[in-house]
Symmetry: D3
Subunit: 137 residues, 6 copies
């Protein structure tokens, strides 16, 4: 048997605002610059979820990507797609929605629910230029 890493790519569109409520307005503006705009802005996020495991000799799958896609939809996309990350998303409550913090939040939502193999890596792209990789540690 061989181990392989299977990746499913999904998309979501969301608004957010970078802001630390412990700081005054001036510091928020200096640190977060245009990402601090009061009414928020938004992105088309690209989410790559990688599951590592043995290839099942009966199916040839590490994990059925149709099933993986359904789990990502139920656990993550239904909560974040076409939402405002500072307002509408329970698992981001009290967190500044930087791409780092969103990736950690998504990992925590998905990790207990992977039914075959184990969650290995999340890559979250906020724009064509900015992305973050998180491996759960």
């Amino acid at each position: 048997m061989s181990a392989a890493y299977v990746t499913r790519r999904e998309h979501f569109s969301a608004a957010h605002r970078l802001h630390n409520p412990a700081w005054d307005e001036g510091k928020n503006e200096r640190v977060f610059d245009k990402c601090n705009n009061a009414a928020g802005h938004g992105h088309n996020y690209i989410l790559d979820v990688t599951v590592a495991g043995q290839i099942d000799p009966d199916t040839g799958y590490v994990i059925d990507v149709k099933l993986l896609s359904r789990i990502i939809h139920e656990r993550v996309l239904d909560k974040v797609d076409h939402k405002h990350l500072n307002v509408d998303v329970d698992f981001m409550r009290g967190l500044n929605p930087t791409v780092e913090n969103i990736a950690v939040g998504i990992w925590n939502e998905l990790q207990p629910h992977i039914p075959a193999g184990k969650l290995y890596r999340i890559v979250l792209h906020e724009t064509e230029k900015n992305s973050v990789e998180y491996m759960g540690e």
Copy 2:
């Protein structure tokens, strides 16, 4: 002399909410669905601006794309990038920020300020799946 069509691609990230204030909540939800989320959502927009004209024999340019980029920044990107299109943008005031209406708004902002050739086409991509083309008529 030959005519050519020069395109400059730019990017901006913005939040928006699709909503018609003349309708009640139920109708807004039925028509605009998840795009009607009260707190908004957002996108990485890709904007392609095409200028048509003769190639200048001295420069080999229809228009200097560095100049075209500067005009797009001053007239459009500085107003929409990292903004909420329903709240922060003067030229979208009173308009539902569909990709169609944003494209028309951008055309109207740019058209009087093209210094060489003439504005020929705008393509605005809202997601990898949805885009609109507008040619000013």
Copy 3:
């Protein structure tokens, strides 16, 4: 009111074989080369469907892209996605499934069912290198 061109991008994966039954094997091989492989080969097709029309002042839409997507699924994708184009697809019966002929077939499937604006253009990408544009004439 302003006219605009709205494009929806969809994807499908299909097998096909280029073959003219009126020709002998030798001529089929000479003309279609590796695309004539008896058991077929396949592609991830990218389909761009463009609808032209006036922007509705109540919605800001030329056509609701959610509706356009549903029509493309019902009329085209449900028939071609994960299918063999020479064997499984009624509207390709008796036609050599070149990218040109598939585009014409898709146009004919969609054209009577566009509920707002009118079908303006189809672009069908067979690979990153080969595509065809068809405008119904």
Copy 4:
């Protein structure tokens, strides 16, 4: 001397059908769904082959990518491009052509023939959404 990882990207187009001959039709349909279509379907596969090694001080290369490309063509692409993976490909005989199994098959074809450095990683993209990474263990 420094170690680096050099990647060559290649493309191939192939048909396949997911099917386990030890199962009846009903189970094949339930498990593999539309990927079980009897006449097959197909994809444009993207293949990334990574070789790890020291940078040769005379050439500045870990491996000449022109040579790496030639090896990938001779050992893999000539066998799979414009073919049906269930029918035409010797190294997939008796294997269900999931993206996982194809990646392992390609690794085994390439691994003995890398002339400089050593084969480090294969990434095989079946669609824009589904891919697999294999590192030979």
Copy 5:
């Protein structure tokens, strides 16, 4: 019979320098800025060549894209790929190698040699942000 527009995409990598020998150094620097760097710089150009014509009922082709690719290689790519456009390319002699002028040069090289349909459009991408479209008039 139906008319369609078939596009073949090809790639080449070349060096160039924007410079007008009729101007002094200061003006060249002011107008062409960093594109005027004396030793040149370079790009991965993407070339889209579109041929318009009737679909041949025997082949299902407007033009065989394998043949179109061969013509683009012989007439254009063999002359410009891995070359310096100011120094090595006969059809650019005496022309400032802006993306506009290169597109016109490529059109003139290809136009007499299209064996089926007729050359309709060239799109030449110099970077992800800058491109030009030329239709021969």
Copy 6:
């Protein structure tokens, strides 16, 4: 606290020529082939710079990507963008500008100047087909 890997993507366009001055012309041509063209050729390089570190609980950042971008511009892009890598770039002096050697050079320029976290990985894409990954060892 959680560790994450933040990546910033940047672009530059440069000319280069592969050449080993210790070899005669014949050997240079045999080894480097069309990359040895005397006047050089060029590419649009894509540079991915990854910084690893703990997520700062006050900002939600591993590193501010605006700051990371500024460092990449000052230390690398200002030296290589729109330049000839064999002629204009101090940190490539005496090195054959293969994608491997450029990646090592960029690493050495950036590594001492990363103000938060530490430089983890550089990926440098020379074309859509050829890239190199370097992790500093």
